[in-house]
């Protein structure tokens, strides 16, 4: 609820909510001094139609960004005396941290975007209209945000525009992801998608400075996205609380210009390396071991991770951060390095690190660049590569099918004879795109030929989340 009113603001705006544990309110009052001059009273004027729509928009954004249960703001117009309430904003959330952040966000945005002006009447009889926001040009404010980097040699408007147009996928919002994300968002990378399935634990906080103590238990991707949007309101941040799998990796890669691998396990690192080759997108990878880090960029035409290690190593072959320990600043250096390499590439700086594995020993500050050459027998990028993700239309009947929504595309008489348990019936003869359920879909037919054919056709139409059950119902 956003409102502009002439009557005094006194009562709280929000009523109780059973799920709410915190309501933060901000009360802005008329002060007796403006830039050293004594103020007698203030006069506010609003352009009401626009003020109401813009105000409502800000509240909706705050609800969305901070996961609020309620948000409200009232701004007073007309003549106000010293001490009168000019604005009251309230944010209701499950926990106080989001309530505080959201309340600040609402007030800042209202001051910045809502067309309300104030006229100060000074004790000496003079008066001045002061822009209280709204009229300020968002573009100028955005320019102000990036001013210092735009001053760099060969950066300017053009460099900033390149970053604004860029789409970066960050996999993992942990020790590497936190610093990497902060610098990407702060630099103005226009579209950031971050994927992480973990929840925040106390043992993460020493190296994941996007999160605070009260965030424990919340999904990393969601919290990270909130913080990044608050940090830089000029960029779009999308969070997915999910793992990257062979099923969703294609969609994620197709929508990205480049990818940061900030994960902590071999299975995902090798999957992202394979995807770099198949979808022809550079992957900037980093890994940590105690006081050391490594960085490696995988890109089409260059060597990949499987040129060195053809087989994905077992998860327990060398220690993880949980087992061998890790220092936050080491993760910070490597994560910042990944963001830096991403920015360099997006800005079109000359190539560096081509096919080189860079090692950083942060006990001695020694770095080594070790050249990796393409392995002609590499199973991912070699001449007879066998690692294939692109064509994974088919799902084996032995796979975990609970991951998918089953759709039986056989005709009703066939389904009646040999039913596919748990499947939704969408016969091919009357099949329409609008009937497709949400999520990852596994198409099923009698022997897996019609379903494969339909999966291929649907993917050509841009629907990547469809798959075909190999062998059909008969294989189940």
């Amino acid at each position: 609820m956003f409102r502009v009113q002439t009557s005094p603001i006194s009562e709280p705006l929000l009523t109780g909510h059973p799920a709410s544990g915190a309501t933060a309110s901000f009360v802005g009052t008329v002060r007796d001094l403006n830039e050293g001059r004594d103020v007698e009273r203030l006069e506010y004027e609003a352009y009401e139609p626009l003020a109401s729509t813009e105000g409502a928009k800000i509240l909706a954004e705050a609800m969305d960004r901070f996961g609020l249960l309620g948000a409200a703001c009232v701004h007073r117009v007309g003549m106000l005396e010293i001490g009168d309430v000019a604005i009251r904003a309230e944010a209701q959330a499950r926990h106080r941290h989001e309530a505080f952040l959201a309340c600040e966000y609402i007030v800042d945005e209202v001051k910045r975007r809502v067309p309300i002006w104030k006229k100060e009447h000074y004790i000496d009889g003079a008066s001045d209209w002061i822009n209280a926001g709204g009229a300020a040009d968002a573009a100028a404010q955005e320019h102000d945000f990036y001013r210092r980097q735009m001053r760099l040699p060969s950066f300017g408007d053009e460099g900033q525009a390149k970053l604004r147009a860029a789409r970066v996928l960050v996999v993992g919002a942990g020790g590497l992801g936190c610093p990497a994300l902060v610098y990407l968002a702060a630099a103005g990378v226009g579209h950031i998608t971050l994927v992480d399935s973990d929840r925040i634990e106390a043992s993460n906080l020493h190296r994941q400075p996007l999160f605070v103590y009260v965030d424990r238990g919340r999904p990393k991707a969601e919290v990270a996205a909130e913080r990044l949007r608050a940090q830089n309101p000029f960029v779009q941040v999308q969070a997915q609380v999910d793992r990257v799998t062979p099923v969703n990796v294609g969609v994620l890669f197709r929508e990205a210009d480049l990818v940061l691998d900030c994960t902590d396990n071999f299975a995902t690192k090798f999957l992202l390396s394979d995807a770099a080759i198949l979808y022809r997108k550079p992957v900037i990878q980093a890994s940590l071991y105690q006081f050391e880090g490594q960085m490696f960029v995988i890109e089409p035409g260059g060597p990949c991770l499987r040129c060195l290690w053809p087989e994905t190593p077992a998860s327990d072959c060398v220690g993880s951060c949980a087992e061998v320990g890790v220092l936050g600043s080491v993760a910070g250096v490597l994560g910042a390095m990944q963001a830096h390499e991403a920015l360099r590439r997006l800005l079109g700086h000359p190539e560096a690190l081509k096919g080189e594995l860079l090692t950083f020993d942060l006990t001695t500050f020694e770095t080594h660049g070790l050249i990796v050459t393409r392995n002609p027998a590499c199973p991912a990028c070699g001449s007879s590569a066998s690692v294939v993700l692109e064509e994974n239309y088919e799902v084996e009947p032995t796979a975990d099918l609970s991951f998918y929504t089953l759709v039986d595309i056989r005709e009703p008489d066939e389904s009646a004879v040999q039913p596919c348990l748990g499947a939704r019936l969408l016969p091919l003869s009357t099949f329409g795109l609008s009937d497709l359920p949400e999520g990852e879909i596994l198409l099923v037919c009698q022997v897996g030929i019609r379903s494969l054919d339909l999966a291929i056709r649907l993917r050509k139409q841009g629907i990547q989340r469809v798959h075909s059950l190999r062998g059909g119902v008969e294989a189940l």
């Binding site: 290690w309 072959c317 050249i371």
Partner: protein, 81 residues
């Protein structure tokens, strides 16, 4: 005829060897030979199949011939993040 090499260790290997750099005299002919000797002399437990070697700044096959003065780097896969 023994040759003199410098060896660098990374990650889990550094931890197992207890140092990051050493210079040794050896009769090992290849990185694979050298690693086998190190496993015996220092009780390294990392699976040799996971270890990759770089010689003078570039990754090489484990059976490439070594020469006196080479700098050999042993590196296991690393995944922490």
């Amino acid at each position: 005829m023994p040759i003199t090499l410098t060896i660098r260790y990374f990650a889990a290997l550094r931890e197992q060897r207890g140092l990051s750099f050493e210079s040794i005299s050896t009769d090992a002919a290849t990185p694979a030979d050298l690693f086998r000797q190190l496993v015996v002399s220092h009780g390294l437990t990392l699976d040799p199949a996971l270890v990759r070697a770089s010689v003078n700044g570039a990754f090489v096959e484990m059976d490439q011939a070594l020469e006196g003065g080479d700098e050999v780097v042993f590196i296991p896969p690393v995944a922490g993040g």
